[in-house]
Structures are given as C-alpha cells and as structure tokens.
C-alpha cells in the first residue's frame, strides 16, 4: 500500500514536472521563435524619384531597393569582411582577375533562375554609356566580365584595384528580360530580393510583397512591407503613435528626447557611413590663400556642428576615414583655436579679418551648417553671407557655375578610402568643383597608388599621407560623422540597419 502511495506520489511529481517543463518550453519557444506574417508599414520622408537600381544613387532608393534586389556579397556589420549573398564564393586568381561562383537555385521574381550571365549583364549595363548610369564611374576599372559557365564568371580589371568588391557590394543583379520588357526598371523593379514589387501608388506608397521563392530559407518573415511617403515629420510621428505606421526611418533629431521617453518605441542609433564637411572654393578671392583656409578650419566648432545637426548625438569627424579602420590616425584630431586662427589670418595679410565670404547653404537638414559657419567666421572677423538654395539650384551653383565661396554638405563614404578621395581630392574628380578644382601633384600620385595597392600596411601609409596634406592645405575640412536613429514600435523584432543604410528587411519580424 505504502509502495502504491509512493508510486502515485512519484508519478504526480513527474507529471507536475512535465507539465511545468511543457509550459516553460512553450513560453521559451514563444519568446525565441520568429513569427512569420504581418504587414510592416514604414514612414519614409520622401517619395523616391524612381527605382531602377542602376540609374539612381539616392540613399533612400538604395535602402528601398534592398527589398527587391540582391547583391553578389555584402559587408558584414563591422565592415571588416564580405558575406556571400548571390555569390557562393570568390577567389582572386591574381591581382586583376576575380573568379566568382554564383549560387545555384536563386530565382528572379519572374521565376527564372539567376545565372552568371545576369551578373555580367548587370555590370555591362552600368558600364554602357547609353545607360547613363551614375554608378558607371564606380566600375570604370573593370576591363571585362567573362562568363565561364552558367554559375561561374571572371571579372577582369584594367589594373589592380582594392575597391572592386566594395563597389560590387552595391550593384544589384537584375534580369535582362525585365529591362527589355519595361525599357528600364524605374517603376517596375524586378530582382531576386526577398520582396516582390507590389505596386507604386504615386504620392501615397510603395508596396512590397513576400517573395515565396527567396533563396534564403525561412526568409522573409514579413508578408508585406508598405512604404508610406510622409514628408512632414510630425505626421509620421502621429502615425507611429496611433499605430498607422510601425517604423520611421528618419526622425527629426530635435525630437530625440521625446522618442526616447516613450515606452512604446525603440530607437536604433547608428552611425551612417557618411561625412559632413565644409568645402572651400580655392579659386575664390581670399580662399585661394591656404593660410585663410587653415584659419577657418581651425576656428570651425565641430561640437557646434554636432549639436546643430544631431543634437550632439553624432561623432566629430576629421577625415572621411572611419575611426574603426586601420587607416585612421589620431594625429588628424585637433582642438579649436580661435587665437591661432587669428594669427594665421594676420600672417595671410588680414589681421582683423575684415572681408566677406558667401556661404551656400543647402535647404533642408544641412541648412543649419551655414549658420554654424557664419557664426564661427564672425569669431575671426570674417563676415559671412548665407545664401540658401534648394537642391537643384545648389547643385547648379556648386557644380556647374561654381558660384560660391564656402558650403557645408555631406556625402557617403566607404571602407575603401579611394571612394571619397577620387571624387573630391583630384582636380578632375566628380565633385572637384566643390574645392575649386584644388590640385596637388603628390595627392594625385598617392590616390592613384592607393587605388591599386593591395597591401593593407602600405595603404594605411598612403592614406595617412594624403590626409596629412589635405588637413594642411584644407581644400575642404571635415566636421562630423552623421548619426541616424530610426524609431519603431517595440513589437518589431530583429531590426537592423547598417552604416551604409542597408536594411535587413528579410530578417525583421512582428512580435504581435
């Protein structure tokens, strides 16, 4: 009898433990299991011009195109190495030949399997002058793309080039027949990304629906992503409060405190891979003197820029080299020194300043940079005159007419320092007009050397020397690395956006 009681007791304990374990495991499963389905509604601050991944370089379009397209490889979160995507693997045969093996079984949204010819087509399309692609300049070192077989190709370079893999990490692979069908992909994006284009209601939204044949298993988790165009931040915030949208990609920095204090919201702070800079037209009167430029660089208050632009949440920047990179040098950092700046001005022949400079300010978020420059110039007796211009006018005045003295802008940077250097620091670079086509023979030589040098230590030396010269000559000076903080409802899980503004759309899920 006693044994029976013991047995019953024992069984009860076992049953109790099993029940407990069952409930616990259920709970644990719920907490860790990715839920599939649901619609993610995102507020974006403007409507894109178009969506052809090879015809536009708007950062907004690049972020959106991550929904529809995929790439050979991508940088990892720390920008240290490349992660395979469409390419299964790759191998440098020698300094100028890269062998790429394409993953089998990847399908485009039109149901056709992707092969090596599509990679060749995508690169050739960008390089074809008839396409007039803004990406063409990035790939000009490519000599030829040879298809070895359906899943293998070789990219031949004109000369050794460190930046090839970096640039290709942004080139979407698209099917030729879609371009032939639609003429271009401006309003009909077709790719092999995690979402299929679901329509573009002009002025309202863009829809992206789950691509069921996406090559990564169990992705995407979401059924649909809707991007709503909300140009006024307060509207987007109200929509987030009411649940009309789940995510705002570009909140107003002045609202940071209010967003942080709301328990329904989560903020994702990240440093954008970009640099804010102040550029000098070295052709202008006064600014053709390197001492004047140096004096202004010395008097610019980087903290004030950081406060004005990002409420102090950004990071002060001295060069377009990332602080996490081996190329970065602490020697480039300095303390604002008004007295030293005044001395330099006196040395240049302007003891009390006493001259006027026109500051071209871009209307919008960067406009405030003009005010900071204005106030800093006043500290050394230089009178600023702010001229605010909308983007088209500003581009015209800066790049075509070169009608300005100083301006404050920002641009994307890359783990490859050549990306920025070739564009701005060569007198014939794409953005050379911003420095009045500043030219320095040594810098030119070093940039060319840096581009084709593959040895990391040597590269570090080269870029250190380039920016030593730039910070001495000051055709432009750097002020801050931008910070962004997308805000979303707490039920959105696994949200991530990298410094180069690539969203992990396929991995996000809704826990509700």
């Amino acid at each position: 009898m006693r044994n029976i009681k013991k047995l019953i007791g024992f069984l009860l304990v076992i049953a109790f433990m099993m029940t407990g374990t069952f409930f616990l495991s259920c709970y644990a499963e719920e907490a860790s299991t990715v839920k599939t389905g649901g619609v993610l509604t995102v507020a974006i601050d403007s409507e894109p011009m178009q969506l052809d991944p090879h015809l536009v370089q708007q950062t907004l379009v690049i972020s959106i195109n991550d929904l529809f397209h995929d790439f050979l490889w991508r940088w990892d979160k720390d920008f240290k190495e490349f992660l395979p995507k469409i390419a299964e693997n790759w191998k440098w045969i020698n300094d100028t030949n890269l062998l790429v093996n394409v993953r089998k079984g990847i399908k485009f949204h039109n149901d056709r399997e992707l092969n090596a010819n599509d990679v060749k087509y995508s690169i050739d399309r960008i390089l074809d002058p008839k396409t007039a692609s803004p990406w063409a300049a990035y790939l000009e070192s490519i000599q030829e793309v040879k298809v070895n077989d359906d899943y293998s190709l070789t990219i031949q370079l004109k000369n050794p080039w460190w930046g090839l893999m970096d640039r290709l990490s942004s080139i979407a692979i698209i099917p030729k027949e879609a371009v032939e069908k639609y003429g271009d992909l401006k309003t009909n994006p077709v790719g092999c990304g995690p979402f299929v284009f679901g329509g573009w209601d002009s002025g309202i939204q863009i829809k992206a629906k789950k691509f069921k044949d996406y090559y990564i298993e169990n992705q995407p988790s979401l059924d649909e992503v809707i991007l709503k165009f909300m140009p006024v931040y307060n509207t987007a915030k109200s929509a987030l409060l009411t649940g009309d949208v789940d995510l705002i990609v570009w909140p107003d920095p002045s609202d940071l405190e209010s967003l942080q204090s709301n328990k329904d919201f989560e903020l994702f702070k990240y440093s954008q891979m970009a640099i804010m800079y102040v550029n000098f037209s070295t052709k202008s009167k006064y600014l053709d003197n390197k001492l004047v430029r140096k004096a202004i660089s010395l008097v610019l208050d980087r903290d004030a820029f950081n406060t004005a632009l990002y409420k102090g949440q950004g990071e002060i920047g001295w060069t377009p080299i990332l602080k996490t990179q081996s190329y970065y040098s602490k020697d480039w950092e300095y303390v604002r020194n008004v007295e030293e700046a005044k001395k330099l001005l006196a040395e240049a022949g302007y003891p009390d300043g006493g001259f006027k400079l026109r500051i071209l300010a871009l209307k919008g978020a960067e406009e405030i940079m003009g005010e900071v420059i204005y106030s800093n110039l006043a500290d050394i007796g230089i009178q600023g005159e702010i001229e605010v211009a909308e983007i088209p006018e500003a581009l015209d005045r800066m790049l075509k007419k070169e009608d300005f003295d100083i301006s404050g802008l920002g641009d994307l940077i890359s783990p490859d320092p050549d990306f920025f250097a070739s564009k701005y620091l060569l007198s014939d670079g794409q953005m050379a007009a911003l420095t009045g086509h500043w030219d320095n023979t040594e810098v030119r030589k070093l940039i060319e050397e840096g581009r084709s040098t593959l040895d990391e230590a040597k590269r570090a030396e080269i870029y250190k020397r380039i920016y030593d010269i730039v910070l001495d000559e000051n055709p432009m000076t750097f002020v801050a690395y931008p910070v962004r903080f997308p805000v979303y409802k707490t039920y959105l899980e696994n949200f991530f956006v990298s410094g180069d503004m690539r969203y992990n759309w396929s991995e996000m899920w809704l826990n509700k």
């Binding site: 309202i204 307060n234 409060l241």
Partner: protein, 313 residues
C-alpha cells in the same frame, strides 16, 4: 450670353497660352536641371550629356517649347523625366483628389461661415459678434500646417477616431476615403471660413443699414425673411468673388495641407517635381491650375448674372 461666354473662353485661351510661355521660360531658366538632380553628388559630364540628349534637353528652349506645344495639341503631355511615367497618368488622379479636397474645404467653410457671418452682423457689437470676429481673426492668423497638426493630435492621436494621414481610393473603401478627407478638409475650411465669415459680416452690416431693409422692418416683414431672402442675397456677390478667388488659391495653396496629411494631391506632386526639376510634370500641372482658374472665373461671372438681375451680358 453665348457671345459673352465665347469671348471669355477666347480670353481664357489667350491667358493659358501666355501662361504656357511664361512657365516654360521660367522653369527652364531657373538654376538646376533634372539631369543634374538625377546624378546628384556623382556628376559625370559625358553621361549627363547623353542623358540630356535623350530627353531632348540639349535643344534650344524655343525649339523645346514648340515641340512641347505640338505634343500637347495631340493630347500628349510627355513623360516624367524622373520615372518615365506618362505625365497624364500621374496628374489626372491627383487633379481629382485636389478638386475634391478643395470643394469639401469650401463647402464646410460655407456651412460654418454663412450662419456665423449673418448672426455676427445681425447681432452687431454684441458678445456673439465679438466671439465670432475674434475667433475668425485667430484662425486667419494661425498657419494652416499648425491647425492641421493640432487637428491630427486631437482627433487621431488623442481621440483615435480619424486616421492621421494618407489616402484610400473611393472605390476601395468609401467610408475610409471619407474619413481620410475629414481632417484635411476641416483644416482648409477653418482658415477659409474665417475669411468668408468676416466678408459676409462686413457686407451684411452694410446692407442691413440700407433704407429698403428698414422699410421692410417697418412693414413687419419677418427678420428671417429679411436676413436670408434680401440682405444675404444682396451681400453675397462680393463673397462669391472671394470664393472664386479662394478656389483658385486653394488649388495651389493646399499643398501645405497636402504635405501635412500626406495627401497625394496635385500640389504635392508639383512641389516634388519642382524640386526635381521634372519639367514635363511642372509644366502640365501649372497648365492645369491655369485652366481651372480660368474656368472658375467664368463660372463666377455667370453666377453673378443669376444673383443680380442688373448684371447682364
């Protein structure tokens, strides 16, 4: 009347041709062009030249103008430079949406303004009058976007009874469409109602002091009849001019309201296209505005005739 109408339409056509020349010249001569915007911070002179040739922007402005007019006569407003979509396909739905919002805004404003203006004039210098005049003064002084955001916070965020923004097509969900329209049209109506109220009040006070009104009062005609059948009708003609002007203003002016409520109207398209220098859309949109403005003015003139028998054409 028919002759008059033909004459007005003729003048209207000349106005539109004049506007087409002005807008074409202005848009092509202001700094910046669409190809520059397209290439942004990655300009490449050779490729930009190819792109300009492709869109015919390399031709002299006068040639471009005549090519454009030639196309318009054939009903072809061109394609958007930015995304290759036909201009008409982009602007037609938006014309409808902006017209609906404008009509609704004016309708609501009249529903508020007519009784407020009449009561305010009838009870001239009373507390009611003071409340109406100061209320309308406040509404005129406050910017539209601010009123819009306040409405949004109250009705959408606090009370949760109306959507914050966006657009739902009428054929998808009628009540959803209606709900979306409430806040933007109320925002427009509040400012317009303030202006109209003040105008009605001023005219009514003037008309109510005229001899024929006093005579009616002395003859024992009921107040309501005096107010609505005689005084209001006679003081409405200047108000009608105001409404006509409001309509023209609103077609372009509600762009701020459209932006605040992320409403996909013609104004927001025009603003976006102007920032991108998408010439074909900018030109077509302004032509639409000009056309509507001309038509509205003709309609207002015709209504004058009905309201005042002295006006004959």
């Amino acid at each position: 009347m028919f002759k008059y109408l033909l004459k007005r339409l003729g003048f209207g056509l000349i106005t539109i041709i004049g506007i087409s020349i002005i807008i074409f010249s202005v848009i092509h001569f202001i700094p910046g062009d669409p190809i520059q915007v397209m290439f942004g911070q990655n300009p490449n002179p050779e490729l930009m030249k190819i792109a300009r040739e492709y869109y015919g922007l390399d031709k002299p402005v006068v040639t471009q103008y005549f090519l454009w007019i030639k196309k318009i006569i054939r009903g072809d407003f061109g394609i958007s430079i930015m995304n290759n979509r036909p201009v008409l396909e982009l602007i037609i739905p938006r014309i409808g949406r902006t017209l609906v919002l404008t009509f609704l805004g004016i309708l609501i404003s009249l529903i508020i303004a007519i009784p407020s203006g009449i009561i305010s004039a009838w009870r001239h210098n009373s507390w009611t009058d003071f409340t109406v005049t100061s209320g309308s003064l406040i509404l005129i002084s406050v910017p539209e976007f601010w009123i819009g955001i306040v409405f949004m916070i109250v009705f959408s965020v606090w009370l949760r009874i109306l959507p914050t923004s966006g657009y739902i097509p009428i054929n998808e969900n009628f009540f959803g469409w209606l709900k979306i329209l409430i806040l933007p049209s109320l925002t427009i109506a509040s400012v317009q109602a303030a202006q109209t109220t003040r105008m009605i009040r001023a005219n009514m006070i003037e008309v109510l002091s005229l001899d024929y009104i006093n005579l009616m009062k002395a003859s024992g005609v009921k107040n309501r009849r005096i107010l609505y059948m005689h005084a209001f009708k006679n003081s409405f003609i200047p108000v009608l001019t105001l409404i006509g002007m409001q309509f023209g203003y609103l077609m372009g002016g509600i762009v701020i309201v459209e932006r605040v409520f992320a409403y996909p109207g013609l104004g927001s398209l025009l603003m976006k296209s102007l920032n991108e220098r998408d010439y074909p859309i900018v030109q077509a949109s302004i032509m639409v505005y000009a056309f509507i403005f001309v038509i509205v003015n003709i309609i207002v003139d015709i209504i004058y005739g009905f309201l005042n028998p002295k006006i004959r054409y």
